[in-house]
């Protein structure tokens, strides 16, 4: 089976300033269906640039990118938008939910564009509700983002990413704004989705978050310096239990001390 993401010798050069910045210097990468990949690297390593290229938000300066067999170099602005709408789901670091808009309406958003817009309002609503159920927030469908916790907001964002049944779910530092406990909770959602067969690519700079994935890619100065499978993979379920026990213990100690 052909890889869902196939990039060959990709370069990205920003020449808006006086000195051209060579952010990505020749990356080749195949990602197959069902993979869960973490892109890691320090800031300036080119991981965000690579992510933008993977997300079809930006075009590579050189090299080819085939997404699900489609060469994105041949597509125009609107065709790229349709591709993003149909083949990709996005989860951002800052959640990027629309303010003063209910969770359900936020999830509906991708269905208002692209091929889904021929659907009726009821179909759209039902599909969005289903995705909220997947991330366990069906009971909060009418809440505004400011009425939800960070983890809940990110789960709404994940539901939004899922709603168009994408080929790949892209997450840019999905746990960057969350505490460790909530991070594990969100990673649990990702792992569950991955088990159901959804391909996930995420950017992170935290090693423990990367250990929840199946494959880690390390970028430095625009090139992949390491590409390995995770041997000792963390399972969110276990981690949550461990954290709960630790918290209980902390309370116990505190109780004894008093």
């Amino acid at each position: 089976m052909a890889p869902v993401v196939q990039i060959t010798d990709i370069h990205k050069i920003y020449d808006s300033g006086e000195i051209p910045v060579h952010a990505v210097r020749g990356v080749s990468l195949d990602i197959h269906r069902g993979e869960m990949v973490a892109l890691m690297g320090a800031s300036g390593s080119g991981k965000s640039t690579l992510m933008n290229v993977l997300g079809c938000l930006d075009r590579p300066s050189r090299g080819t990118y085939l997404l699900d067999g489609i060469n994105i170099a041949e597509l125009g602005r609107n065709e790229l938008a349709d591709l993003r709408n149909q083949k990709l789901g996005f989860v951002f670091q800052g959640f990027n939910l629309l303010a003063r808009t209910t969770a359900l309406e936020n999830v509906e958003l991708p269905m208002l564009y692209g091929r889904h817009r021929k659907h009726s309002a009821r179909e759209i609503r039902e599909r969005a509700m289903h995705c909220l159920e997947i991330v366990g927030l069906a009971n909060r469908y009418d809440h505004f983002p400011n009425q939800l916790s960070g983890g809940q907001q990110q789960r709404v964002a994940i539901a939004r990413g899922l709603v168009n049944e994408p080929q790949v779910l892209l997450a840019d530092e999905p746990t960057g704004n969350l505490d460790s406990r909530t991070s594990v909770e969100v990673m649990g959602v990702f792992q569950k989705l991955n088990e159901q067969g959804i391909t996930i690519v995420m950017v992170t700079h935290e090693l423990d978050i990367a250990s929840f994935c199946k494959r880690n890619l390390i970028l430095r100065d625009g090139v992949v310096v390491r590409d390995e499978l995770v041997s000792n993979r963390s399972i969110a379920e276990h981690e949550t239990r461990r954290l709960k026990e630790a918290e209980a213990a902390a309370k116990l100690i505190a109780h004894n001390a008093a």
């Binding site: 602005r77 609107n78 996005f90 629309l98 808009t101 958003l109 991708p110 564009y113 939004r160």
Partner: protein, 402 residues
């Protein structure tokens, strides 16, 4: 479906900022309301003037003496003494499409009665005069053709004269003295009010023109001849016929008369009024444009404020066109809602003005249609620039925008 979706998206965006939406629309509300109110006031004033002009008599045509020249000296209009009662008789007998006609001989005399006296306008007229001038009597009757022929000493007096000379009694049947001649009062005219140029029309005594010319003023010519055409359409025909007839009667002499129609008088008034209405509408239009700029302002702020939102929409698959349509619909919705509200406020304000000024309410449907249409186009016009700005944003830049 795609348009309804975009429409729904726009509606949601407006609802998220209810207060701001209302304040933005306020500019348009005021603009549209102002246009409608101003035009209504203008129209009301116009119809008032028209009613006043109509009260002078309907379909009225006036023949006045022209100028004459004597030994090289030329007089102005109205000084010729060649408009005679025979001219009137010829018109009354020969011209078609007229409902009535009356000569008018104007004079001013001291009138005595009842131990009181009063200086007033004493005019010699024909029996048709009250009818021609649309001026019904409240008591008694107008003198007849017979009384004109017999140079009868009878008079019909105006309301003011009746009040001045017979403050406590019925004027009809009483005797007044003009130039020491007794005239029997046979009728009292209804109130007609003050003319647009300020003279009191009710301060008047009417006597048969024949009696006036032979017994009071001793003149041979009349001051004017008033003719009422049977229909508004006949006015021009009658005017031409009167001119032809009088020219014929002059037998080759210079025409020494002028024929004026009431329409010409009314036109002056309506032209003045039209200018005023136009002026008011222009002032009001300025506020509409200011309202439109207000919408553009808010939409621009809104684009900047919602850059991230636009970025999200673009990232998850919105086309530039979708964003353009969304912002355009928002702007048009704002301005048409403002327009509709403005119509309501404007109609209300017009009613209020009409109520307090005692004017007829004349909200012209044309001004409503124009105001609402204009406000919608204001939305498109001033909404387009911000909308295009939003549509052309780069998704990455928009997402990074703080």
């Amino acid at each position: 479906m795609r348009f309804t979706n975009t429409f729904r998206v726009s509606l949601r965006a407006l609802r998220r900022n209810t207060m701001r939406s209302i304040l933005t629309a306020l500019g348009i509300i005021i603009g549209v309301a102002a246009v409608i109110t101003m035009v209504s006031i203008g129209n009301g004033a116009k119809s008032m003037v028209e009613a006043q002009v109509a009260a002078l008599g309907q379909n009225l045509i006036t023949v006045m003496p022209g100028s004459f020249s004597s030994g090289g000296m030329r007089s102005g209009f109205g000084f010729s003494t060649t408009l005679v009662p025979e001219d009137f008789e010829a018109i009354a007998n020969d011209v078609e499409n007229i409902d009535g006609a009356s000569p008018e001989v104007r004079d001013s005399q001291q009138v005595l009665a009842n131990g009181l006296n009063w200086r007033t306008n004493v005019n010699g007229v024909g029996p048709d005069y009250p009818y021609v001038k649309n001026w019904p009597l409240t008591a008694g009757a107008m003198f007849s053709e017979q009384e004109v022929k017999s140079l009868a000493k009878v008079a019909v007096i105006g309301k003011v004269v009746a009040e001045q000379l017979f403050p406590n009694e019925d004027a009809v049947g009483q005797t007044i003295r003009i130039r020491n001649l007794p005239f029997r009062v046979i009728g009292v005219l209804g109130p007609k009010g003050v003319t647009p140029w300020g003279s009191d029309q009710d301060d008047i005594v009417l006597v048969p023109y024949s009696s006036h010319m032979r017994r009071i003023s001793r003149r041979t010519s009349v001051s004017s001849i008033q003719i009422q055409a049977s229909t508004p359409e006949a006015i021009d025909k009658v005017k031409v016929a009167v001119e032809d007839l009088l020219t014929q009667r002059r037998r080759g002499r210079e025409p020494d008369f002028i024929v004026r129609t009431q329409e010409e008088l009314a036109n002056t008034f309506t032209a003045t009024n039209r200018t005023m209405t136009l002026l008011l509408a222009c002032i009001a239009s300025v506020s509409l444009i200011v309202g439109g700029i207000g919408i553009m302002n808010i939409m621009l702020v809104s684009v900047t404020e919602r850059t991230r939102e636009i970025g999200i929409r673009l990232a998850i698959g919105a086309h530039g066109k979708d964003v353009l349509t969304q912002f355009l619909i928002e702007a048009v919705l704002l301005s048409t809602m403002g327009g509709v509200m403005g119509v309501l406020v404007g109609v209300g304000a017009s009613q209020l003005v009409a109520h307090y000024m005692g004017w007829p309410i004349l909200v012209s449907s044309l001004s409503v249609i124009i105001a609402v249409g204009f406000s919608a186009s204001v939305g498109v016009f001033f909404g387009f620039y911000p909308a295009r700005k939003a549509a052309q944003l780069d998704p990455i830049d928009a997402l990074r925008y703080e």
